[in-house]
């Protein structure tokens, strides 16, 4: 049960109401005492679960700030943060952590916390954090009520016309708000090369829009003067952390996740500089996925010292480079589909207004970019979109039914009217192929991975599946075996034979360690039971 305590005296005209969550009675009491000194009305809860009940019964809008300890029995402060952002993104959240727990701080900020406090908490620290948080809540609520006051900075492309750039860039951008959030930019460099920026600024108010536009201007100016990207990032981080303050002299508490991709057409190399942005990928025409990095460091604006992750890749002929913001991953996760499927759907439905309805209830901006790295490509696969592109370790063999359901959801999300017999044929082939790859190619081991790619071609109206494992393949003559098995009713080894029969085309490579299957979308559309 939550308990409400009143401020001691001098209540301000607009009383600040704070929900404090901590399982430790002494800490809770101390914090409440400090908050009373700041004229707050305090409601306390002893666990994340209790806080959830309080927020549901009293309404999130009745609070101006939520302050929670990270470590609690049952659900953690991070669980509570994610839950609260799901039901009311405007309510500011302050996380309490132990001293020096940088990773917890990073996780909390990444998940939407406004600020953090380290134990032991001093009254002065609370005052500053509380003021920022309450201001943030009230500002976000004002904007939510009157979104038309803001301007559509988020959806503007502030660079030159995309058509004039040396590589084809396709962008799908579905902002949730009129300002701030995700943005991209692209520049043709003096040497003929190209720079693409994709970023996500925290917040959706005019301040975020200002930061977005300012950053793009700074990059353009500094790049024109041949400043290396790391220096540009470092300079902007300094602005965010040390120079820009509110009218009261407080830090802005605004952050920027950004990824810069420098495409060098002469040396056929890509340089990727990443600060807190989801890892981008180069994808080969056969679906091989080459992640540009492993850990993207922190966004700009979090800490005084900043480090970016730098990755260099060779450009592979006819490949594409994909970048997307965390809003895409979050929405795909919520819908239990592959992020590739969501990206594919967005690209395919660009011309149709219904695609906006598809993600109308997304809680964050969604942006995905696809860059054609070899503009002179004449590959027939250049317009293909990927529905699935994943690597699975051998130990996932036991999850095959769960994976099957995930593949089913992802494919029907992109192709909702796919013929059910074709879908059954396709899914069965994927299942058979992946069972073989995980069981024999990876030997069921957690250290071995198999890859699965399913691509759809809107030009040929066909689907292409590539399954690859690290094994040596086999010398099994499945076609001869199938003849024998069918005649003599041999109850084994029919998997490859089924795949060959159900697909419109099958090609084995590397002695069968890689299999490519093709399906024509129209091939099953007339099949009925009468054909039996």
């Amino acid at each position: 049960m939550s308990i409400t305590t009143e401020p001691k005296a001098n209540s301000s005209p607009q009383t600040t109401r704070v929900l404090v969550v901590d399982d430790d009675e002494i800490s809770k009491e101390m914090l409440s005492h400090h908050l009373h000194q700041h004229h707050c009305m305090v409601v306390v809860a002893g666990s994340a679960e209790e806080a959830m009940v309080t927020l549901q019964t009293e309404g999130t809008e009745s609070f101006d700030c939520l302050i929670s300890d990270y470590y609690m029995p049952g659900k953690t402060g991070l669980d509570l943060l994610l839950w609260s952002k799901e039901i009311d993104a405007t309510l500011a959240f302050i996380m309490i952590t132990g001293a020096g727990e940088k990773q917890l701080v990073a996780d909390s900020l990444r998940c939407g916390a406004t600020d953090y406090l380290e134990k032991p908490i001093r009254r002065k620290d609370i005052g500053e954090a509380l003021q920022r948080a309450v201001t943030e809540t009230r500002e976000q609520r004002r904007l939510a009520k009157n979104d038309t006051e803001t301007i559509a900075i988020g959806s503007l492309h502030l660079g030159p016309s995309i058509k004039s750039l040396p590589a084809r860039i396709e962008v799908c951008h579905r902002p949730c708000h009129g300002a701030g959030g995700d943005f991209f930019n692209s520049f043709r460099l003096p040497d003929g090369n190209m720079l693409v920026l994709a970023a996500d600024v925290s917040g959706h108010d005019l301040r975020a829009a200002f930061v977005s536009a300012y950053f793009q201007g700074i990059v353009r100016g500094m790049i024109a003067k041949n400043t290396p990207i790391p220096e540009v990032f470092s300079y902007f981080n300094q602005l965010l952390v040390e120079e820009w303050c509110t009218e009261e002299g407080k830090p802005m508490t605004i952050s920027l996740s950004v990824c810069a991709v420098l495409i060098d057409f002469h040396s056929r190399k890509i340089q990727v500089y990443n600060n807190g942005f989801p890892i981008p990928f180069q994808i080969t025409p056969t679906g091989q996925s080459l992640p540009a990095g492993t850990d993207a460091e922190y966004p700009l604006g979090w800490f005084s010292e900043t480090a970016h992750q730098h990755t260099e890749q060779e450009i592979i002929k006819d490949s594409h480079f994909y970048m997307w913001t965390d809003g895409l991953e979050d929405f795909a996760c919520r819908e239990v589909i592959s992020p590739w499927a969501l990206a594919a759907k967005l690209f395919l439905d660009r011309a149709h207004p219904t695609s906006k309805n598809l993600i109308s209830d997304a809680s964050d901006d969604i942006m995905v970019l696809r860059i054609e790295l070899t503009p002179d490509s004449s590959a027939t696969t250049r317009d293909d979109v990927f529905i699935l592109n994943e690597r699975l370790s051998g130990e996932r063999l036991g999850d095959i039914d769960e994976l099957h359901a995930f593949w089913h959801r992802s494919i029907t999300f992109v192709l909702p009217s796919i013929n059910e017999n074709l879908l059954a044929n396709l899914l069965l082939c994927v299942r058979e192929g992946m069972i073989n790859a995980l069981k024999y190619g990876c030997r069921g081991s957690s250290s071995q991975t198999a890859s699965l790619m399913v691509a759809y071609s809107p030009v040929s109206r066909g689907l292409r599946v590539v399954i690859s494992d690290p094994g040596k393949g086999h010398n099994f003559d499945f076609e001869a075996h199938l003849e024998l098995a069918n005649e003599a009713l041999v109850p084994e080894h029919r998997g490859l034979g089924m795949m060959k029969e159900l697909a419109d085309g099958m090609c084995l490579r590397r002695n069968g360690a890689e299999v490519e299957l093709t399906f024509a979308l129209n091939s099953c559309e007339v099949s009925t039971m009468k054909s039996l």
Binding site: I400, E420, L428, R431, E432, L489, P491, R494, L532
Partner: protein, 114 residues
């Protein structure tokens, strides 16, 4: 759900409760063969056997191997074997493995309400 194996219209009927896949095939095998090997079945004076696949939308290679194993066993006794199939996909699986030469495949079409 257990596969239903019973006597209906003077024929033994094996009704699969759903898809026949690698993840449920061993359970199904155990249940089916425990009945097929029982004296209750072996003493039954009935030479007709029907596979009911109407609830199966998908049969993978492990599932197909089970069907073949059951068929081999059933053929020792039954002379008239049929398979009731609702899904075109399942029908295709049985056809390409030439099981249509071993048993009569009957298309099951659900009645449409007027």
């Amino acid at each position: 759900m257990k596969p239903l194996l019973g006597l209906e219209n003077n024929r033994v009927k094996l009704a699969f409760p759903g898809d026949i896949l690698s993840t449920n095939v061993e359970t199904l095998r155990e249940q089916i063969f425990s009945t097929l090997n029982s004296t209750q079945y072996t003493n039954l004076a009935c030479d007709a056997f029907e596979f009911d696949f109407t609830k199966a939308q998908m049969i993978d290679s492990a599932g197909l191997n089970l069907v073949v194993s059951v068929l081999r066993q059933v053929k020792k006794k039954a002379t008239r074997i049929s398979a009731l199939v609702a899904s075109a996909h399942v029908g295709r699986i049985l056809r390409f493995t030439r099981l249509d030469r071993q048993m009569e495949i009957i298309a099951f079409e659900q009645s449409v309400p007027a």
